[in-house]
Subunit: 158 residues, 2 copies
C-alpha cells in the first residue's frame, strides 16, 4: 500500500493538480505491479524483485557487485542480500568471491538463470504491451518524456 491513494486536504493552490497527479500515478503503477506480480507467480513461480535482479544481471554478463545491484535497483543492501540468496539456492545466480578484494563478491546469472530470464522477459514484454495497450505510441512517448525529466531534483534536501 502506498501513500496518496486518498485525496485529502488542499489549501495551497497549484498543488491541487500535483496531488491529483501523484494519486493517479500511484494508482496506475500499483495496478500494473499487482498484475505483473500475479502473472509472474502464476507462470514462473517468481516475483518482481527476482525478475529485476535477473534483468540487471542479464545486461551485465561480466557480473555485478552486491552494491552495484543495490544502487542500480534503488533498494537497500540488506534487501539485495536476501533476494540473491534465494536466487542462488534456486540455481539461477552465483556468488563468487573475488581475489582482488575479499570484501566483495561478483554476482552473475548461471546458464540456467539466463535461460529462465529469457523465457520470462519474452512474456513480460507482451504483458506490458497488453497492460499499457490503451496508451497509444504518441502518448506513451510524451508521458515518457515528462517522467524522464522528472527525477530526483530534490535529492540531498533536508
Amino acid at each position: 500500500m502506498v501513500s496518496g491513494l486518498v485525496a485529502t486536504i488542499d489549501h495551497r493552490s497549484g498543488n491541487k493538480e500535483r496531488l491529483l497527479l501523484w494519486i493517479r500515478l500511484l494508482r496506475a503503477s500499483r495496478m500494473i505491479e499487482s498484475e505483473l506480480r500475479e502473472r509472474l507467480k502464476r507462470d514462473f513461480n517468481s516475483t518482481l524483485p527476482r525478475f529485476d535482479v535477473m534483468a540487471a544481471l542479464f545486461r551485465a554478463p561480466e557480473g555485478m557487485l552486491m552494491s552495484d545491484l543495490s544502487r542500480f535497483l534503488l533498494v537497500s543492501n540488506g534487501n539485495v542480500t536476501g533476494i540473491v540468496d534465494r536466487l542462488v539456492s534456486d540455481g539461477f545466480v552465483s556468488r563468487a568471491r573475488r581475489d582482488g578484494d575479499r570484501r566483495t563478491s561478483i554476482v552473475t546469472l548461471t546458464e540456467q538463470g539466463r535461460d529462465e530470464f529469457q523465457r520470462m522477459a519474452r512474456v513480460h514484454e507482451d504483458w506490458i504491451g497488453d497492460l499499457l495497450g490503451d496508451v497509444d505510441e504518441a502518448d506513451a512517448k510524451r508521458l515518457s518524456t515528462m517522467l524522464k525529466s522528472f527525477r530526483s531534483n530534490w535529492e540531498g534536501e533536508t
Copy 2:
C-alpha cells in the same frame, strides 16, 4: 523493488515506447514513495500505509469496514488487519463490533487520530508540491488525465 526498472529485450515494435514508459513510471513513483516514507518516519514516526488508512478514515467520519478499507486502498484483507492493529494500539483508530452484523467491525479515527492525521496531511501536501514542483500545472493536468483513463481495462482477463 519493482519489476521493470531494467530495460531488457524488445522484439515487438510499438511496445518499445510502452516498456520505456512503464520503467519511468515506476522509477518516478518509487523515488517519490521512498522520499515520502523517509519523511513520514522522520517527522511523524509513521509509515505510508498508516497514512493511507488514516486518510481513508478521515474522509469517512461514519467509519469503514475492514473490507471497505481493503477494497478502497487496493490491498489485501490480511494486510489491513495488521495495519489497523498497530494504529489501534497507538490510539489513533478504534475498532467497534457492530450490533447488526457480528462478522463486521466498524473502524474509525479516534480524536487523537484525527488530530494526528491533520498534522500529517498539511505537511504531506507541501511535500508533494515540493517533490512534483518541476511539473507545471498544465503538464500535471495532462498527465493526470492520461493516467486517469488508464485503468484496469485488463481486469478479469486470463
